[in-house]
Symmetry: C2
Subunit: 301 residues, 2 copies
């Protein structure tokens, strides 16, 4: 017997993810705080609910894809939340990117009611959500992961069970730490090249063949050369994740000096009103500091 699926949060990421579940033939009940967002999915066969509680009442596995830790706490544990409509044996799968520490707390509270939880944040952006090619980093019990895995496979390609509850969120923060510093690295290198009078496109090409190779150098490096800062992954979301990493690091007793530096770069971007751009726009802070711009076929200083 197939599990009935609930989906809460039909934003830029949530809607295409829910659609991929629906397309795969699962019955789907859905909820979004702003009601208009669900109409398309309703036309495609989903049943819209008026609260997270109602979603929980009508489903066996409830996916949550909302903006931040308080939003997850509200839809799961708040008034008319998932917990109120849930029952023992149900699974809550939080695919939002939130604090691993908050995640453990929510998982414990759900566990007290016999409700299992997975944290399963994603990487890959809107494009990955639409194409069903997200990376999904999962924390929680192995048997619960196995139960949900077939549905994850409708949304993503690289699906890794990292460890117990919170491990998925920790892994996502690790991802964001690495990507943020990789953008900083590529930005510093390309600005240095440009101001040296060396073609940054040639530098990117040369570096892709050696130890400096990375997906960020490839994709974000190309965006920087093309001045294409249409998101993709927004600066303000990366800023949020960076702040979560830093507050978690403080609580855990870990020093993240590079991440702290990039947090200041996001702050500069926000101050300059560019927080809605793709996170590769981090380079513009470095460009303004150096009074230069990274362009293909840069001629001279």
């Amino acid at each position: 017997m197939s599990d009935r699926i609930g989906f809460i949060g039909l934003g830029i990421m949530g809607k295409p993810m829910a659609r991929n579940i629906l397309k795969a033939g699962y019955p789907l009940v859905a909820y979004n705080r702003t009601p208009g967002r669900g109409q398309e999915l309703e036309a495609e066969g989903a049943t819209l609910c008026t609260s997270p509680k109602e979603v929980a009442q009508g489903s066996d596995i409830v996916f949550v894809m909302v903006s931040d830790s308080p939003a997850v706490e509200e839809v799961v544990l708040g008034e008319n939340g998932v917990a109120e409509g849930g029952r023992a044996g149900m699974v809550v799968v939080d695919m939002s990117s939130i604090s691993p520490i908050v995640t453990k707390r929510i998982a414990t509270k759900l566990g007290d009611r016999g409700i299992d939880m997975l944290d399963a944040p994603v990487s890959g952006g809107e494009e990955g959500a639409i194409n069903g090619t997200l990376s999904i980093m999962v924390g929680g019990k192995p048997e619960v992961f196995q139960r949900v895995r077939p549905i994850f496979e409708k949304m993503g390609k690289n699906i890794v069970h990292v460890g117990e509850n919170g491990a998925g969120q920790t892994c996502k923060l690790c991802n964001q730490i690495v990507v943020a510093l990789a953008i900083e690295a590529v930005g510093e290198a390309l600005v240095f090249a440009a101001k040296s009078g060396v073609d940054p496109a040639k530098v990117r090409e040369a570096l892709l063949g050696g130890f400096a190779q990375s997906r960020v150098l490839d994709l974000h490096g190309q965006r920087i050369l093309e001045r294409n800062f249409k998101p993709g992954g927004k600066c303000k979301l990366h800023q949020k994740d960076t702040e979560t990493a830093l507050s978690s690091a403080k609580e855990l007793g870990v020093s993240l000096p590079g991440t702290a530096l990039v947090a200041q770069m996001w702050n500069a971007l926000a101050a300059q009103g560019r927080e809605e751009l793709d996170h590769s726009a981090l380079v513009t802070v470095l460009e303004e500091m150096a009074k230069t711009e990274v362009r293909r076929k840069w001629g001279n200083r």
Copy 2:
């Protein structure tokens, strides 16, 4: 008619690079400041000289692979140097990693004597030198690059002509900026995971499938998990290149905040007596700050 090849600097990198030229059938005259270093190559067919000047007298293309900017200036422009033994139409190819600004100065001085120069620093370490798989980043005139290219192909695989003199060294510094910050990024992520009680090996695996993918996460991440800090690329060489990038940045008017931070990490490594280890040992500074260690199957805090 084949060019006669000279090679100056038969250290960890220079010796296997010279050997690959010799193996390809080129006549080779060679020089090393410490005389013993050349004996093996002599047995394999090279002719040893007693000065860089003598190397220049006996060859048409002179490769230089020494430790730093002063060493290159000395062997090329100093007493009994290459310039003294050179003549118009000769080419000096400096494969050392040195300052792009010093490089331009040397190229100008050689140019005054009708001697062409290429700057052609490499990436790929001792292993790449032995296997002939180095990345080679070349600055200088296109026609000179074309003349030397067949010999580069005996030493490397990814050979890119980046621009005019100095562009190869600039590109190498860009490479070192990106790799240093990538190691910092992977180090911060894996230490964060370990102290969170999450298996860093699982995090590496999950991240390799997404935007965080990089050769550093793959290779250096694996070294960190295995505590394998046998070089590879030594911290002290990466420290030298980082300092060159920062002094060039000051001269050019570029701000490299992330690179400046990593420079402080190299300083800490040196203070702790670990500057001879592989540059992935950068993670040990982060580990000491957090009083933890990155290990596979990390159980708890």
